[in-house]
């Protein structure tokens, strides 16, 4: 009987042991290499699997791709989009687009956790959306969608006992996604309380990390969406062979004009027809943003996490602050005064800590064909951004000197009103 049972269950047990061994082992099984074609595809795919994972990003960023952190603007692919220009004019860099609808600072902070060696002493681009800085900060469901246990366990394996990581743990614990793994959840509670992890916890996290790393290696490159790469190639064909700013600027204007015929907002027809038209007919959008404010938000501290991470890794970052389509802003009643104050507040947070590479486009909302829709740059907007991105990435830059302050994690800063800002600048120096 024993012999027969062994014949039946032997292979099964062996298979189980092998699978488990492969998953928990820290060995990489020849997956380090990644084809250039796959990297090209992944860099513009905007796939959530790529964002949550590690392996593909790690390989591409090691091959000269530069991380472009941001959110939904990356999906607005027209001929002047950074990925299209970099490809067409054979720039020394290629953007690796990180972010999609709903990704905000907190998600990006965790995204940075497992590409640290690719960020250390390197350059990056960070696109700040004013829309992130609403009263509630990042939406719990959106954060949950992009949440990655792999990144969290990686972070827990190298976190420091300081205010920053305590804040990150506390913030993560407010998200339902943190409960997806019981052991990670208890570890987070300990980090939030400033306690150390036990040996058993570290062992669990290490095994879990190995398992998720292997899973990511095996599966995250499968079934990458290829639609965006096709769009990039298609848009590149519309560009002239040789780069000339004035030629591109007038081309951007011409394309913009051709694609924004049917509405008074200079919004691309496609976007306008896709739902906006119906909503406008109902008349509910008139003045609907009248009381909206981007001035008081937990997002300011989440954003500080990203700044801290860049400072720790000595990453040189170019920040982009986009405008809002002015015609749209006027129609919806969004306060220009508030937007100006937002710009002031975010710039203070950046500049007072030594982040001085800022492309501030916040006053460009009325430039024709600058915005492709209500809040996203297109055509001439992308080109204006390229005017700064290209030299920043192509030329050698001075080493930044960061001077990080924990005060940006305080409730006081998150909730600081516009009138108090100048006083705050004086007193908290």
């Amino acid at each position: 009987m024993a012999k027969r049972l062994l014949r039946i269950f032997g292979p099964l047990i062996l298979a189980a042991i092998l699978v488990f061994a492969v998953l928990v082992s820290p060995v990489t099984f020849g997956f380090k290499h990644m084809s250039a074609a796959k990297e090209r595809q992944a860099a513009v795919s905007l796939s959530p699997n790529i964002l949550r994972g590690k392996h593909v990003k790690e390989a591409a960023l090691g091959d000269g791709y530069v991380p472009f952190f941001g959110s939904s603007e990356w999906s607005r692919i027209d001929p002047m989009h950074p990925s299209v220009l970099a490809q067409k004019y054979h720039r020394d860099y290629r953007p690796f687009l990180l972010g999609a609808r709903g990704t905000q600072s907190l998600t990006q902070f965790f995204v940075m956790q497992n590409i640290q060696s690719q960020l250390r002493n390197k350059k990056a681009v960070f696109f700040i959306s004013p829309q992130w800085f609403v009263k509630g900060g990042t939406r719990k469901d959106a954060f949950g969608f992009y949440y990655s246990q792999l990144q969290t366990s990686e972070w827990l394996s190298h976190y420091r006992h300081d205010a920053i990581d305590q804040y990150a743990a506390k913030r993560l614990l407010q998200m339902p996604a943190a409960k997806s793994d019981h052991f990670i959840n208890t570890a987070l509670q300990q980090v939030a309380d400033g306690k150390s992890l036990t040996g058993y916890q570290r062992f669990y996290l290490q095994s879990r990390k190995n398992m998720l790393t292997q899973e990511d290696q095996f599966f995250s490159g499968i079934n990458l969406p290829s639609r965006n790469l096709a769009r990039v190639n298609q848009q590149a064909q519309k560009l002239p062979t040789h780069y000339s700013y004035s030629a591109l600027d007038s081309l951007a204007g011409r394309i913009g004009k051709a694609q924004t015929g049917n509405n008074s907002f200079h919004i691309s027809d496609q976007f306008y027809n896709h739902g906006l038209k119906q909503e406008l007919k109902k008349g509910k959008l008139k003045n609907f943003q009248k009381n909206l404010s981007y001035l008081k938000s937990p997002e300011y501290s989440d954003f500080q996490l990203c700044l801290d991470q860049f400072a720790r890794l000595n990453t040189n970052v170019l920040f982009i602050i986009p405008p809002i389509n002015q015609k749209w802003q006027e129609y919806t009643g969004l306060s220009p005064e508030m937007l100006r104050q937002f710009d002031q507040k975010i710039r203070y947070q950046l500049e007072s800590q030594g982040f001085n590479n800022i492309v501030d486009l916040s006053d460009k909302g009325n430039v024709p064909y600058f915005m492709t829709d209500t809040i996203h740059p297109g055509w001439r907007g992308w080109l204006a951004i390229d005017q700064r991105v290209n030299p920043f990435l192509s030329q050698k830059q001075a080493q930044p000197k960061y001077d990080i302050s924990d005060k940006f994690y305080s409730k006081t800063w998150q909730q600081l009103g516009p009138s108090q800002l100048s006083q705050y600048e004086q007193t908290s120096k």
């Binding site: 009987m1 027969r4 049972l5 014949r7 039946i8 269950f9 099964l12 079934n223």
Partner: protein, 402 residues
């Protein structure tokens, strides 16, 4: 609370393995512990019908009590009397809950009935069959406890295979000898692993990865003749593959688990895609269902028609019964135009198939029969079936009416 789809994830299988281990050791040493079997049955039923799905659990308990009352009552009654109307009344009452569950969504804008639960149809088949065999006199020794075990046998409760009371009872009352049981374990483990391949790899690929893409493409390519397009054809094959691998995979889990428990639950699929004609297809596809329909609807109707001389020719009797039989099967899937059309389609196909076989028999000399015609027959049958699954899928409903 922990709650699972049966055979839904690795944890379920891990729990299953742990729970079955003592039972398997017991059978290997010639012992069956009724108590232990009942306990793990209850455990897995609570996992399936507990937690957030507790309303289903309550519906299941009430339903079971109702069916026990009916079958027990009828078994007691049948010992003394045998009246037709009482029998019909009992059968109607036993399928009443199922009928309510199936009709409710059609009349209440897609709302599902409160008395429904996962597996209500399969339990109804078992109950009806118990009543019919009691009437026939083939089932003489009805036992409430055995009936409960038969109905609530957890490996097959959610979607079959549909076992028969007497067959189940025979297995349940005996302990297979060691040699036979080792053979059953071997088969059971193999079935479960083939099930993994079917359900978690192939059905996942066809159903979760490919099908939604094809559906979007099909919806975007509307506008042509009947809104049909190449993506619709792709969807048809993809849906068929998903339907087969998903259900055959589930059935393999159910049969495999039964084998490990020493119960030889009948197989549901037997290489259906190699059927040379539609009749053979129904002998190979969802076998326990089609045999149930054959034994308890088709045969009974044919006898009734013949006894009352409703039709002159036996072929007419057969044809009419085919259509009724398949229409009932269509209605059973749900009261929508596409399920009913699907039933009608298969009814007509069976009628035509019979006619062709008769014609072929008469003209045996002039009709070639060789390897090529054999392959052609298989090809034709498979494509016919896939087309019927396209109707069944409801995609046409979305294409035309949404």
């Amino acid at each position: 609370m922990l709650t699972f789809e049966p055979y839904g994830n690795p944890t379920y299988f891990a729990l299953l393995g742990v729970a079955l281990l003592p039972l398997m050791i017991g059978i290997l040493y010639g012992k069956r512990s009724r108590l232990y079997e009942t306990l793990i049955s209850i455990f897995f039923l609570v996992l399936t019908f507990g937690g957030p799905k507790w309303t289903q659990g309550v519906a299941l308990i009430i339903y079971i009590l109702y069916e026990v009352a009916l079958t027990w009552g009828y078994a007691v009654y049948r010992k003394q009397h045998n009246s037709g109307p009482v029998f019909f009344m009992t059968v109607i009452l036993s399928i009443l809950p199922l009928t309510i569950v199936k009709v409710t969504p059609a009349v209440a804008n897609g709302q599902s009935s409160l008395i429904g639960f996962l597996g209500v149809s399969y339990l109804s088949f078992r109950a009806v069959q118990t009543i019919m065999e009691t009437r026939d006199g083939t089932l003489k020794d009805y036992q409430v406890m055995t009936f409960l075990q038969f109905m609530l046998f957890f490996p097959t409760i959610s979607s079959g295979p549909i076992d028969r009371y007497r067959r189940f009872e025979a297995d349940y009352r005996t302990v297979p000898d060691r040699d036979k049981y080792l053979g059953m374990i071997q088969k059971g483990v193999r079935y479960i692993f083939v099930g993994f391949l079917y359900k978690f790899i192939l059905a996942y690929y066809f159903g979760t990865i490919l099908m939604p893409k094809l559906q979007i493409m099909a919806m975007n390519s509307r506008g042509g003749f009947l809104d049909l397009s190449w993506p619709v054809v792709g969807y048809m094959y993809c849906y068929s593959a998903d339907l087969f691998f998903d259900f055959a995979g589930y059935s393999l889990f159910a049969v495999g688990t039964s084998y490990l428990m020493g119960i030889e639950t009948p197989m549901n699929f037997n290489q259906p895609w190699r059927s040379p004609n539609i009749k053979d297809f129904w002998n190979r596809w969802h076998i326990t269902l089609s045999f149930w329909f054959r034994d308890f609807i088709y045969m009974r109707l044919v006898f009734w028609f013949m006894k009352h001389r409703v039709f002159k020719k036996p072929t007419t009797t057969a044809n009419v019964t085919y259509i009724i039989n398949m229409l009932v099967m269509g209605f059973w899937h749900g009261v929508t135009w596409y399920y009913i059309t699907y039933g009608l389609f298969h009814g007509v196909a069976l009628v035509l198939n019979d006619a062709w076989l008769r014609y072929k028999k008469k003209h045996r000399q002039s009709i070639p029969h060789n390897g090529f015609t054999q392959v052609f027959a298989i090809f034709l049958t498979a494509n016919m079936v896939c087309f019927s699954f396209l109707i069944f899928s409801g995609l046409l409903d979305k294409l035309w009416f949404h």
